[in-house]
């Protein structure tokens, strides 16, 4: 089945108040084209899930698309410092910041992937996080009687990923670090993929290097070169410092919408 569609069509799959998982890690292979389109379409009330997010979550917070963020870490790395828009949104009570260890996000997604309601987590032992969050609790190991902390499953309604290669059916290949993208694709109800390159259907079939994400998990494929920019896309491009700096200096949603216009040509080009 041909699932190639425009960026606009693909993002229309996302509904207000959906739980949305985002691929990549900090400034690497974040699906920024899809994120921008979410902002342009003015989605509301999204529940964002990511182990470690940066510009993606920061932008969606500035665009007022977000209701909550479940994550282990939301910040740029050292050089680019904190995610100011996210921070402000949480401090103002606009966005609920649900703190996880990155691993408890992974565990919650693994639970979703296995269709189970919760996942035991070894490492979360003595922690105020257990008491203040309703997605953690302690139960008894029925075999030993010992206490064990568990995290509630997180089932993303939609997951958005940017990859280097996909075919039009949705088979997708990630070059370099995979981060939690494969897990996200298994945990989600729907998967939207943007890809640097659309490869022929035969490519993965005749290669030793098979797709990481099989087509039947994928609902939409968008051909989007530079779809991770201004974040990096391994083997394709590094970060775009100019566009990152400009973004970090934005002060309002209005400025953001202007900023997004700069990407219109790239995001809406038809191939």
């Amino acid at each position: 089945m041909n699932k190639l569609m425009s960026l606009t069509q693909a993002v229309e799959i996302i509904q207000d108040n959906d739980t949305v998982g985002i691929g990549g890690n900090v400034l690497h292979r974040a699906p920024m084209g899809l994120v921008r389109e979410i902002a342009r379409q003015g989605k509301k009330g999204l529940h964002i899930v990511k182990t470690a997010g940066a510009m993606d979550v920061d932008l969606l917070c500035l665009a007022e698309c977000v209701s909550s963020v479940d994550a282990g870490f939301i910040s740029y790395e050292t050089e680019y410092s904190l995610a100011g828009h996210y921070r402000k949104a949480v401090q103002n009570g606009v966005v609920k910041g649900n703190e996880h260890a990155c691993y408890t996000v992974i565990s919650a997604l693994r639970a979703a992937s296995a269709g189970i309601p919760f996942m035991p987590v070894k490492g979360l032992q003595i922690s105020d996080l257990i008491e203040v969050n309703d997605y953690f609790t302690r139960i008894q190991d029925p075999f030993s009687g010992e206490p064990v902390t568990v995290v509630k499953a997180i089932v993303p309604d939609v997951v958005i990923l940017h990859v280097q290669e996909a075919d039009k059916r949705g088979n997708a290949k990630i070059l370099g670090p995979i981060y939690d993208d494969v897990l996200l694709s298994r945990a989600a109800k729907k998967v939207i993929i943007s890809a640097e390159t659309i490869v022929p259907d035969s490519k993965f079939e005749f290669s030793q290097d098979k797709a990481d994400i099989p087509h039947f998990l994928v609902n939409a494929v968008v051909h989007l070169p530079k779809g991770a920019a201004p974040c990096s896309c391994p083997s394709k491009y590094s970060i775009d410092r100019g566009k990152l700096d400009t973004f970090k200096a934005l002060k309002s949603k209005e400025e953001l919408l202007d900023y997004l216009d700069n990407f219109n040509t790239a995001d809406y080009r038809r191939y």
Binding site: E77, C102, V121, P177, Y179, S232, S238
Partner: protein, 245 residues
């Protein structure tokens, strides 16, 4: 911060990184996460010197990568995939720690108290945070499960080393806390002063620590050796180790 001692110029970051590198033993499984240039360089330095068989684990998942060029903006990028022999990504590193086989995890935090509680989460009330921090990343699950959690923190002040943390993100197997002034070690349920950097002194540590600074004896952190400095400068020619200062 550049300090001249004898004929050599030392940055505090040099001293901290060399101290962190020496805490890595040969053959150990060692991990660091995001925003972690100093641990990244400490692992590379240790592998280049006394711990060639330390196993370098990281977020992208390259096992023992040999990056050609480091990047200023990240310690979680594809560089840490280059020339890796095997792939062992973040989720699996966590699993490894959960089953008790991660030897060293480099982690940070925003507040530490005398009894070893770590706050990596929030200043003020959790539900109405005065300051929303980035989040503790792996700290909450790695500090209790890694055999040795090595904490580094580039701020040593009374807001960091407190009587009682605002929020207990976790507590557990802290081995050392490396700061710009000194190194604490965790023994029998309390933080003790381990060594003072030659660029600081006891009074400065006391003045910048809320809790009582206890110690068995006054020891100083060994200065980086010539060999350590040479290699560190080769690994990090652009001085990224100093970006947190």
């Amino acid at each position: 911060m550049m300090n001249t001692i004898g004929n050599e110029n030392y940055q505090v970051s040099d001293i901290m990184i060399c101290a962190m590198a020496r805490l890595i033993h040969n053959g150990e499984n060692v991990f660091h996460g995001v925003s972690s240039h100093m641990p990244m360089l400490a692992v590379m330095l240790a592998k280049a010197l006394h711990a060639p068989e330390a196993v370098y684990l990281n977020i992208p998942g390259g096992v023992d990568p040999k990056p050609k060029n480091l990047e200023k903006y990240t310690s979680a990028g594809a560089e840490l995939f280059q020339q890796a022999a095997a792939i062992f990504p973040l989720a699996e590193v966590f699993d490894l720690s959960m089953r008790g086989r991660l030897d060293v995890a480099f982690l940070s935090g925003i507040q530490f108290d005398k009894t070893g509680n770590v706050n990596a989460s929030v200043i003020g009330d959790y539900h109405k945070p005065k300051v929303r921090m980035p989040g503790g990343a792996g700290s909450a699950v790695l500090i209790p499960t890694a055999k040795r959690a090595i904490i580094w923190r580039t701020k040593h002040d009374k807001r960091t080393f407190v009587e009682k943390v605002d929020f207990v993100t976790t507590r557990g197997n802290i081995d050392r806390i490396v700061t710009p002034l000194c190194i604490f070690k965790y023994e029998n349920g309390e933080l003790l002063l381990d060594t003072i950097h030659p660029t600081s002194n006891l009074q400065e540590v006391i003045d910048n620590t809320c809790f009582e600074v206890k110690y068995r004896s006054i020891e100083f952190t060994p200065l980086p050796s010539k060999e350590e400095l040479t290699i560190l400068r080769r690994i990090d020619p652009k001085n990224y180790r100093n970006i947190e200062f």
